[in-house]
Symmetry: C2
Subunit: 257 residues, 2 copies
Amino acid sequence: MPGPIQSIERAAAILRLLSGGARKMGVAELATALGLPKGTVHGILRTLQHVGFVEQSPDTGKYQLGAALFHIGSSYLDVNELRTRALNWSDSLAARSKESVRIGTLHEGQVLVVHHVFRPDNSSQVLEVGALLPAHASALGKVLLANDPVDQLDPARLTGFTPATCTDPDRLRAVLAEVRSRGWASDVEEMVEGEVSVAAPIRDRRGVTVGAIGISGPIERLCGLAGEDAGTPRAELVSYVREAARAISRDLGAIPW
Amino acid sequence: MPGPIQSIERAAAILRLLSGGARKMGVAELATALGLPKGTVHGILRTLQHVGFVEQSPDTGKYQLGAALFHIGSSYLDVNELRTRALNWSDSLAARSKESVRIGTLHEGQVLVVHHVFRPDNSSQVLEVGALLPAHASALGKVLLANDPVDQLDPARLTGFTPATCTDPDRLRAVLAEVRSRGWASDVEEMVEGEVSVAAPIRDRRGVTVGAIGISGPIERLCGLAGEDAGTPRAELVSYVREAARAISRDLGAIPW
DNA sequence: GCACCCGTTCGACAATGTCGAACGCGGTTG
DNA sequence: CAACCGCGTTCGACATTGTCGAACGGGTGC
């Protein structure tokens, strides 16, 4: 049995399409997208529905993701050692910095958010756990890219979000080199106008970077307003983030450095 | 092709085991649990790993859930119309009641939490989105059970958590009948000692109950301390919850009743 | 060094999923 | 009002495909 099992691969492809596509999709739509006969796709969909991974609208007959998949997927967080260990420290980082905190891992060249602590004021914020962020335009992503053994930089994915977004592969590589030696990364209005983020790497017992922790918030609060600090994150916030990252790394068994 | 596709069903069973089981599992462990030969299980696992639904520890060789599954599963929330519409209202309910808010749906006889707003103080709270709560020992669950067309009451699942938990099927049915006519449910220390919750049903355009919204918090804040209110949720909080439920139902197209 | 348990590989068999055409249904169009 | 198109679904024959159980190789503990 050399190759992977087709039906499962196809089922996974369908789930991925349903996850990315706009809301609901029909059998024919999925079939053409995958280049498969309708009957085959329908058989797979029926099975996926039977196990609760997809649901079908009774009226339109179209398919969407199911609740069982959501529940199973969310229990990934319990298994994720990084997230488990990081829970307490991220709370205290949010309290110290008074900004929202996110923890992410590299997943297929993007940043997968595995934890999110809201900013400790009473503002309403959207939960971003499970979301994928662009790696080149966030502090979390830069930290992860810079410390990753394999060069996951895909020039085709360097989409520009704001004028400040770095879309040039060579320039980005230079930035990453600096991030690696400096030990932390920042993003100043590179993804969203007016938003700034700072992040530092989390390492495990082997010294491998397994994730990153960072804060994000409005530029007025995160950056200095005048003098040398203007346009760069405030030094105290940077040290808060780095201390939190070091604390989690120590919990994971990394040699305290 | 009458029956569902076996390999996909088996893959789903493996994922479910990995989701419920303690952290990581080995091939042999999964094989005996499913009554399948090791080779077969290994083939499925290899495929699941190939699509990113499971990951394998490089050293121990054991398997656990993968990040891709988590990401795909979490995008269920975007498709879920109930959750999308309920976002704003749950924020305002949290602000009015000053307690944490949860929204849930019935899933295989349990309550699947699809949204969770933290209590608007700065206390650290664990995110429960994706978790399954027992239906008989939570206000959300009682609302959902009471308004569900099919009787999903499974006497075997009426586990007792505290002295106040209702474990008798007949008594629970009576409680549910009252919940149905009254339009809201409460849980006073039935799941966790000292914790109280209140919930009301959310209906869609057809009048079908598609979910429930509720608040939960310590008994000292949620219940009256003396007089007639003692041991029952405070009337103003109940009306906050019911108003929020009505507002969301209206958003979903239900006839304002 | 032996015995055991693990994850993994392999090859033969037939059970299994795949395919494409046909069905029934709802909507829209002339 | 009928013809038509597109949808999700069903069906049966074929051979591709996944399944099985035994054997391999590397760990660990006695």
